[in-house]
């Protein structure tokens, strides 16, 4: 009894500083922010309770809705791109080749540049007249426009929704054929529910034929995707690819898709991919923890590289991927420095990220209460998106038994 009291006292003495921080620097602001969100807060006077007024105003604030949308679009585009790029890099960096430690350093370097310097550097990169990006891009842009111009001429009259329908149909076909030809499905259904004669006798096809069919439908799906993309691209988009105005251009790309990121947002997405080396190094560390025995067993079964990656590597590091996605969501809602310095929210509010919106409300317009209300909506959105990510991933993430 005496000893446990003593232990408790010592324990609390040790964590006392952190307890104080949790109470005063996190707990209090967190709760106060909820209270302020229901107040009018003129900076020189105290908070005045006004109930749900701020939230009602929010519901009608087009700039707020725009900046929420932009932040979500950024998250939806930049996070998957970042994860795929980082994973690909990590897989390549994990191969046993000479000089890979040099590659690792090179890919990590951008992470060491402070964000203010990154922002200024990329403003210069994206400079439409003298920036090196457009100088390098113009030959590629010419190739792209050469490839797409005849295509665009054909697709000019076709409505854009047709592309989406084609994509959906080919996707369904592909998945269906793939599932039918998977060994698991074969062993499950063959014999009982699938009688010969049903499903166009597909289960009577030979193995090779089935695989061929599924591959062909996969190719069809890819073609439909390209076709749909081409439908979205207007001739002016294709012209623009040669030298985009980047940070100064508020038009969406592709221009027919109004929810598509604007060129300015694409620039920020592109820039965010530059810092992906950090994530790649984390994946790399986890890749090296995957037990070699798994690959050896797969080798015995005659698995190829893709199968090993798809069925061993990715499931084994899926917890880290999930972690990165969740942190990416939280991070997207904190993006501030880059738009603040590079575009100050413009052009036409197309890069006014939500963190910047809060900063503007609170510190530029001195609307502390309104800023707090936005912060709370933001918090709920983050919680919601994080739960969604966890939910979606529940059956897709593999946790090794410890």
């Amino acid at each position: 009894m005496k000893r446990s009291t003593h232990l408790t006292l010592t324990g609390y003495a040790f964590i006392a500083p952190w307890l104080a921080a949790m109470v005063f620097l996190i707990g209090y602001p967190f709760a106060a922010s909820l209270y302020f969100s229901t107040c009018e807060y003129p900076p020189l006077r105290g908070p005045l309770f006004i109930g749900a007024g701020n939230y009602q105003e929010l519901a009608h604030d087009a700039v707020f809705r725009g900046s929420m949308l932009i932040t979500i679009i950024f998250a939806v585009v930049a996070i998957p791109l970042g994860v795929v790029l980082a994973l690909t890099l990590a897989l390549f960096l994990n191969s046993r080749i000479r000089g890979r430690s040099i590659y690792r350093v090179v890919y990590y370097l951008p992470h060491l540049v402070p964000s203010v310097a990154v922002a200024i550097l990329w403003m210069w990169m994206f400079n439409p007249q003298f920036g090196i990006l457009n100088v390098l891009l113009s030959p590629f842009g010419k190739i792209i426009s050469l490839l797409f111009r005849p295509f665009a001429a054909i697709t000019l009259g076709v409505p854009a929704w047709l592309g989406l329908i084609l994509v959906a149909i080919t996707f369904a076909l592909w998945r269906w054929l793939k599932r039918l030809s998977s060994p698991l499905f074969q062993s499950e259904v063959r014999g009982d529910s699938l009688k010969p004669g049903k499903l166009w006798n597909l289960n009577q096809w030979s193995e090779g034929r089935r695989v061929l069919a599924s591959r062909l439908s996969g190719a069809l799906f890819a073609a439909a995707m390209l076709f749909a993309l081409a439908l979205w691209l207007s001739p002016s988009d294709i012209m623009k690819v040669q030298s985009p105005g980047w940070l100064t251009d508020s038009n969406p790309f592709p221009s027919m898709l109004s929810v598509a990121p604007s060129w300015a947002l694409w620039a920020l997405i592109y820039m965010s991919l530059w810092g992906v080396g950090q994530m790649a190094i984390i994946y790399l560390a986890k890749l090296q923890d995957v037990p070699v025995s798994l690959y050896e067993v797969a080798d015995l079964d005659g698995a190829n590289w893709w199968q090993k990656t798809r069925y061993i590597t990715i499931p084994m590091i899926s917890p880290v991927i999930l972690f990165n996605v969740v942190m990416g969501i939280i991070g997207a809602f904190q993006v501030f420095t880059e738009p603040y310095i590079m575009t100050s929210g413009g052009p036409e509010d197309r890069t006014r990220f939500i963190a910047m919106f809060i900063y503007d409300q609170a510190f530029q317009y001195q609307r502390l209460g309104y800023g707090s209300a936005v912060a709370w909506v933001l918090f709920l959105v983050i919680v919601g998106l994080t739960l969604l990510a966890l939910r979606i991933s529940r059956d897709r993430v593999y946790y090794a038994a410890r």
Binding site: P17, G277, K286, A375
Partner: protein
């Protein structure tokens, strides 16, 4: 690409090298472009690079003027004709430079922000009889009477050096002006009256040679502009205070969470983890108001005091590491009668050096790069950290002096890159043990 120990055969290694190299170019290119620009002359940042060499290397020109070889700037091409004649004349009387559109011709004003009429007038530059000026349509020279008619209406006596009334030999003529290294800082130019005394000439293209022009002087100029010494000291102060604070407080708290078995420990630790999920914008406003109430806005305190109370991420990190230490060691020390603090200092710290180094490194990086904190809490430019000085330099100019901005950015990034190469082992270890930060 598998993790087996066999080296990759060449036919696989080659494409992997190829892809990694292309990727590496993408990752290094911005850094190269930054460093390349930081050594370029101003003129070149206002010009589309015509080749890769020109994009990465500073290019200038050299020409012989009056028997001496100068580094020159090509001001503009001139095409004298009967309708548009030019004269190089030497005035015999003194007159204020502002009375002429420009001693080198009118177009120069518009083209170069570094050289404008207002500035010439402000410094009251005087054209003396030792100089030559370029007379043109707007400030014509009357050869018969030996009179130069200034734009202001005044007439001064002048003698003709050379009349340029047609392009001879079909070669293009360039108006070139002596280039000096101080031209690199847009602020310095125009503030000395020596500017109009520079050597200049009208030369055919064959008299001008291209040369590599690397300008290390961009660096001192840029550092002056961001008030480097002051900002650096401010940044270092915040960095040192936060690093020391985070090390001490997080280790103590982590020790409490790891080794002292008190009631409520698990739930408090879970809460600690949960706090990591709260984005800063949510607590930004009340935190600001709290610090304002304490009278800390406009001081460095909001930037470092928090660190002395611990940081969730580092507490988590250190606790994970501490749990891996052999418990027997601690028990032995307890039996010998050591207090918990003594155990922490004499037993745990010597074993925790590597993770502590990692924490220090992470926090240093974080404080060095921080922008939003200084932006919110600092309002006096003598307190600005490097991030804030750099940002205010860039926004002041709407981002035109790219060569200086790039030089300042390079200097700003360099300490982290140097630190990285010195602590590469700690870095790699931290990556593989935690893999969590950011």
């Amino acid at each position: 690409m598998s993790s087996s120990d066999k080296p990759t055969p060449w036919y696989l290694a080659t494409p992997v090298h190829g892809i990694l190299l292309v990727g590496a170019i993408f990752f290094v290119l911005p850094l190269l472009w930054m460093i390349a620009t930081s050594f370029k002359p101003l003129e070149q940042t206002l010009k589309v690079p015509e080749s890769i060499t020109e994009a990465l290397v500073g290019v200038g020109h050299r020409a012989e003027i009056d028997g001496r070889v100068y580094e020159v700037v090509l001001e503009r091409q001139i095409m004298p004709s009967a309708d548009d004649p030019y004269w190089i004349v030497r005035p015999l009387e003194e007159f204020p430079a502002g009375e002429m559109t420009h001693p080198f011709g009118p177009e120069t004003w518009r083209k170069y922000p570094i050289f404008n009429q207002e500035e010439l007038q402000r410094m009251e530059a005087i054209v003396t009889s030792r100089m030559k000026v370029l007379a043109d349509r707007i400030n014509p020279y009357d050869d018969e009477n030996g009179i130069l008619r200034l734009q202001s209406g005044r007439e001064v006596k002048a003698e003709l050096v050379k009349a340029l009334q047609s392009v001879d030999g079909g070669e293009q003529l360039w108006l070139v002006r002596e280039w000096r290294s101080e031209d690199t800082d847009t602020k310095e130019v125009g503030s000395t009256s020596a500017d109009i005394t520079r050597a200049w000439a009208v030369l055919p293209e064959s008299g001008i040679r291209r040369s590599i022009r690397t300008i290390p002087q961009n660096y001192p100029a840029a550092l002056r502009r961001v008030n480097f010494v002051r900002s650096f000291l401010n940044t270092m102060f915040v960095c040192v205070m936060t690093v020391v604070g985070v090390l001490i407080s997080s280790l103590i708290v982590a020790y409490g969470f790891a080794f002292i078995d008190f009631r409520g420990r698990e739930s408090l630790f879970k809460m600690t983890l949960a706090t990591m999920m709260i984005p800063f914008p949510i607590v930004m406003v009340p935190t600001y108001l709290l610090y304002r109430k304490l009278g800390w806005v406009g001081t460095f305190k909001p930037l470092w005091v928090w660190s002395w109370f611990g940081s969730a991420f580092f507490i988590f990190l250190l606790r994970q590491f501490l749990l891996g230490l052999p418990k027997d060691l601690l028990d032995a020390a307890r039996i010998d009668g050591c207090s918990e603090l003594e155990i922490l200092w004499h037993v745990v710290v010597p074993l925790t050096k590597a993770p502590l180094a990692m924490v220090a490194l992470f926090q240093f990086l974080g404080s060095w790069k921080d922008f939003m904190g200084p932006l919110i809490y600092l309002n006096n430019s003598s307190q600005f950290t490097l991030s804030l000085s750099l940002q205010s330099f860039s926004s002041e100019h709407g981002g035109t002096p790219w060569h200086l901005l790039m030089a300042a950015s390079t200097v700003f990034s360099l300490p982290l890159i140097i630190l990285f190469f010195f602590t590469i082992r700690t870095f790699i270890r931290s990556m593989s043990t935690t893999g969590l930060k950011e």
